[in-house]
């Protein structure tokens, strides 16, 4: 397109047109002084639906939920100063979990940047440690390219959030410039690798085929690279056990016979045992996080580690890899499968039978078993009931705490992107806004936010957003009148000194939901749990806030012993005491 064919637009119009041309469907945001011109350009706009949240943090979480459930880039628009700083927790959440987002923030006019102008914040500076990249755009004509680059960077390589800071004078209606959105993005300093190096693939295949006790340990990289089918194919070809990280749940079906459950701090007995006793750990899109490894110096001493990751910095960061493979999970798994096919090699099936024999013994421990009570609802039971009522098909978002672990452990996710939680940063207040983003993307699917009485209050104002846009998510509030995970640690490690972990004067959540115009329900009797939950999910067009009073003494087990090996764990005994 030569210059004459380029339409003359204002900066604000370019912002909206760029988003439209990039296929943005939902924009989560909140207006303010610095972005008034952009909001004016959005007024009565047809193809982009803007969702007005009630707090900018929620805009980012909602865009994040949208991104996690669809795989598309989530989009956010906020004003300068407090609007921008309110997004920080959301951006950090997305950064830690490698979620593609673009956050457009207003900025004071270029002429007054640095003068402490009203609602001025150095957003590029504030967000620098928690973004994949950022842009401060200085000229109107640079807007489309900056936005196109932002979306490209956000979704390629290891995905992540990108900030585009837009000073008010460059989006002013007074200045028009030719609009041109580049179709192809080429950044000479940014070339993420996709394919694994053939020599490393060869080494990986050799190690895998010689393994007697292999385990596939996979994380969020399987989800973001859409590599679930390849992972399942490799697992089945090898007949190897698979364990998923908190971020990787659904990477292989939670009901697959070779799936041994989540690993790590609250992983299953069999998953952590399998890891510790493995002779080969084939890690894909996982990063040996401290919530997985426990004490790194005692980590899986007998294992040869093959580590596949799109981000070279993740490899050998905490645990030294013997065979590093840099590349996208999907592509690398395809290469591994192709090479095994081509060379007609595989592992020893007799050894695998012996390995499974051992793993099945660990499974018999039934580490997720718990004791039900006649008069109190157990939190585990709530999640199991949710699984039943939704046929295991729901998108489940969660907040952070005990309920998050219960959701991760007791709801076997059959597909990738079904499980949406803040894994790395551990952000309370994530669940409800994230559920809004998911429900907008999948209006016909069940969307449940599993939360607790602490977390839900951190972004409860979004009940208003749900009402305004008709977003009928189901809120499963596992209410134990306390900050359960904090309390659990205090019980276990601080002699039961429950310092500030009791939630006094909780609101009446049923009335609160009703005050926002939604439906509230409460249940305390285990015999009524299922029927109430069925009733809630039957109300397809209503947001139902289901307040479930559970046994406040419940702990999350199994749990790793601090400072030990990966399989050094405390298990729940069937009579409710530790063993």
């Amino acid at each position: 397109m030569n210059n004459d064919e380029r339409p003359m637009l204002t900066g604000a119009q370019m912002v909206v047109k760029s988003l439209e041309d990039l296929g943005v469907k939902y924009l989560f945001g909140y207006p303010g002084g610095a972005v008034l011109d952009i909001y004016d350009a959005l007024f009565e706009h047809q193809s982009i639906e803007h969702i007005l949240v009630r707090h900018e943090q929620a805009a980012v979480h909602a865009a994040d939920g949208y991104a996690r459930s669809t795989g598309d880039v989530g989009s956010v628009l906020v004003t300068s100063g407090p609007g921008a700083t309110n997004t920080i927790t959301g951006i950090a959440t997305a950064y830690m979990d490698s979620i593609p987002l673009v956050v457009l923030s207003g900025q004071v006019p270029t002429t007054v940047i640095g003068e402490d102008a009203f609602q001025e914040t150095d957003m590029v500076g504030c967000s620098r440690p928690i973004v994949k990249h950022s842009f401060l755009v200085k000229r109107a004509e640079d807007i489309p390219e900056a936005i196109a680059k932002a979306y490209y960077i956000a979704r390629t390589g290891r995905p992540g959030p990108v900030v585009v800071d837009l000073p008010k004078d460059i989006v002013s209606p007074l200045i028009k410039a030719p609009y041109y959105l580049p179709k192809e993005i080429n950044i000479r300093s940014y070339k993420p690798s996709t394919k694994g190096h053939p020599r490393q693939i060869k080494k990986a295949v050799d190690v895998l085929c010689k393994a007697k006790r292999p385990v596939l340990y996979t994380g969020g990289g399987i989800i973001s690279a859409e590599a679930s089918a390849e992972l399942t194919a490799l697992a089945e070809k090898l007949n190897a056990p698979v364990t998923n990280t908190l971020m990787g749940l659904g990477g292989i079906s939670g009901v697959h016979p070779q799936y041994v459950g989540m690993l790590g701090m609250h992983g299953t007995y069999e998953a952590n045992k399998t890891m510790h006793n493995a002779d080969v750990i084939f890690a894909v899109g996982a990063r040996f996080d401290d919530r997985v490894t426990n004490n790194v110096t005692k980590f899986c001493p007998n294992a040869t580690i093959v580590h596949v990751d799109v981000d070279p910095t993740s490899i050998s960061k905490t645990i030294q890899a013997h065979v590093p493979v840099v590349g996208e999970a999907k592509r690398v798994l395809q290469q591994v499968l192709e090479l095994m096919e081509h060379e007609n090699v595989t592992n020893d099936k007799d050894e695998m039978a012996r390995w499974w024999n051992q793993i099945d013994q660990w499974r018999e421990v039934d580490s997720l078993g718990y004791t039900k009570s006649a008069d109190k609802i157990m939190p585990q039971q709530v999640v199991e009931c949710l699984y039943e009522v939704t046929n295991g098909d729901a998108y489940v978002t969660s907040d952070v705490g005990q309920h998050q672990m219960f959701a991760a452990m007791y709801y076997p996710f059959k597909k990738p992107r079904q499980w949406i939680n803040s894994g790395g940063l551990g952000t309370m207040g994530f669940g409800l806004p994230a559920a809004m983003g998911v429900k907008l993307a999948f209006p016909d699917s069940y969307v449940a936010c599993v939360t607790g009485d602490g977390s839900i209050q951190m972004n409860i104002q979004e009940l208003a957003t749900c009402m305004q846009y008709g977003i009928p998510v189901k809120i499963i509030n596992i209410n134990n009148s306390s900050l359960g995970m904090v309390k659990q640690w205090q019980s276990m490690f601080y002699d039961g000194r429950h310092s500030h972990s009791y939630m006094d004067s909780l609101p009446d959540f049923v009335k609160l939901a009703e005050a926002y115009g939604h439906v509230g329900m409460r249940v305390s009797d285990p015999r009524e749990l299922k029927s109430v939950m069925e009733k809630a999910f039957a109300m397809k067009d209503k947001l139902v806030f289901l307040d479930i009073n559970v046994d406040p003494s419940a702990h999350v087990y199994p749990m790793q012993v601090k400072g030990g090996t990966i399989d050094d764990m405390v298990l729940a005994s069937k009579d409710g005491e530790n063993k």
Binding site: S134, S189, D311, T313, K317, Q320
Partner: protein
């Protein structure tokens, strides 16, 4: 162990702050840092002197490489290289004895006296960081230092290999 990293990156506002921020954020230390544009004005070259074992260095190199603005990173100390640093030392030169001592030491180190006032000599010395440090030690022992300023080390690999886009 001391290591010198050479970084080629886009000559854009904010690029330097990403490098410096990364070092502080991840707890890596910076002993010296120099930055200037290269013969190609769209690019800057940064030389960072840091300390760490091989594993830390590998992480630093990978983390720096991951920054979107960065084109190339190389650990100079891995291969034959030459390094230089400039120091300016301002010395008290009130009497003949002091002046002669400064002149004598500067000559031994092949430094130059580049500014003279009634009571002060300023000496310039060019060399490796080790030589610069030795010079400062000698000047401290044999005279009275008013202030010193060091450029930080710059380095370049030997031979025909170059850090190019």
């Amino acid at each position: 162990m001391r290591r010198i990293l050479s970084i080629l990156l886009e000559n854009e506002p904010g690029a330097l702050s990403r490098i410096v921020g990364l070092f502080s954020q991840r707890g890596y230390n910076i002993e010296s840092l120099t930055v200037a544009k290269t013969d190609d004005e769209s690019l800057s070259r940064i030389t960072i002197s840091t300390r760490g074992d091989q594993r830390v260095l590998e992480q630093i190199t990978k983390q720096v490489n991951k920054l979107v603005d960065v084109l190339k990173v190389r650990e100079l100390t891995e291969r034959p290289n030459v390094e230089r640093e400039v120091v300016l030392v301002k010395m008290l030169a009130e009497n003949n004895e002091q002046r002669e001592e400064i002149k004598r030491c500067s000559d031994i180190f092949r430094g130059q006296i580049i500014d003279v006032t009634a009571k002060v000599y300023t000496v310039q010395l060019l060399g490796t960081s080790e030589k610069v440090e030795a010079f400062i030690d000698v000047m401290r022992e044999n005279g009275s230092i008013i202030e010193t300023v060091r450029s930080g080390v710059v380095g370049i690999g030997r031979g025909d290999k170059a850090l190019k886009p």
